[in-house]
Symmetry: C2
Subunit: 150 residues, 2 copies
């Protein structure tokens, strides 16, 4: 890096993370929109795409946490996505308080293509870094997420 940071935000980790996240996503956003989705919809379908998503679905609360949205925001979005045919909503037989969300066949198709594109985008993004640097970067990011609450 050339000139040293001269403003507080230029060396503030929270800000650097926000900018990096924003810049990386911005590059991919065009493909998401071309597929007919908005940012949060892509995030929802990506989260549902495997793991728990392929078994019983995820609860509204779990999904809200994973996609970094507040619960009412997600509830309203899931209702719109169900209306649009991307996901389906069902009751949880184990707990009637809970709503379960699963990707529909249509949602699964669109997200499968986007995941392929996302992998290609990430490969291009990280071409300047060694495999070891990428592994370390991701480990550090995971460590920042998993901090115990103070």
């Amino acid at each position: 890096m050339a000139a040293p940071a001269k403003r507080f935000i230029d060396d503030y980790l929270s800000y650097l993370l926000a900018r990096a996240s924003h810049a990386v996503y911005k590059e991919f956003d065009q493909q998401v929109r071309s597929a007919g989705l908005a940012s949060l919809e892509w995030r929802v379908l990506a989260t549902l795409s495997d793991g728990d998503g392929s078994t019983g679905g995820m609860t509204i609360g779990e999904l809200a946490q994973e996609v970094l949205a507040k619960q009412p925001t997600l509830t309203k979005l899931i209702q719109r996505m169900a209306d649009a045919g991307w996901v389906s909503i069902g009751a949880d037989p184990a707990d009637a308080r809970r709503t379960l969300v699963r990707a529909n066949a249509r949602g699964k198709r669109v997200v499968a293509r986007l995941i392929d594109a996302a992998r290609a985008h990430e490969t291009a993004l990280l071409a300047g870094l060694s495999a070891r640097e990428v592994t370390r970067l991701k480990a550090v990011l995971r460590g920042l997420v998993r901090r115990p609450a103070a």
Copy 2:
């Protein structure tokens, strides 16, 4: 890290960046709200706090880019912040199309305290990493921001 990633998003850089950014900010959000600001207001005042901010102010367009908000979003926010007494708005003598934004004395006071708190929070956040690792992490994040447009 323990279990290997089993879902696409668990190893997807864009998602890891978003989660890390969200988690780190969430820890600090309480102090921002206690100071009477919302997230984007803190970001605006932090951006204005030095560098260009202490000289002639910043234009709406420059500031929108720095704080990662769309231009109409920022225009409306700056109007609310001016009404609340955090910033002042003025014309740019060099270009009448432009609006200049500066922090007010009140805005400068509140942000000075928050910057101190932010530095302390970051120190605690990064306690588990060596200085070299921190420097490298920030360099990589800056590199992700500065990619040439494809």
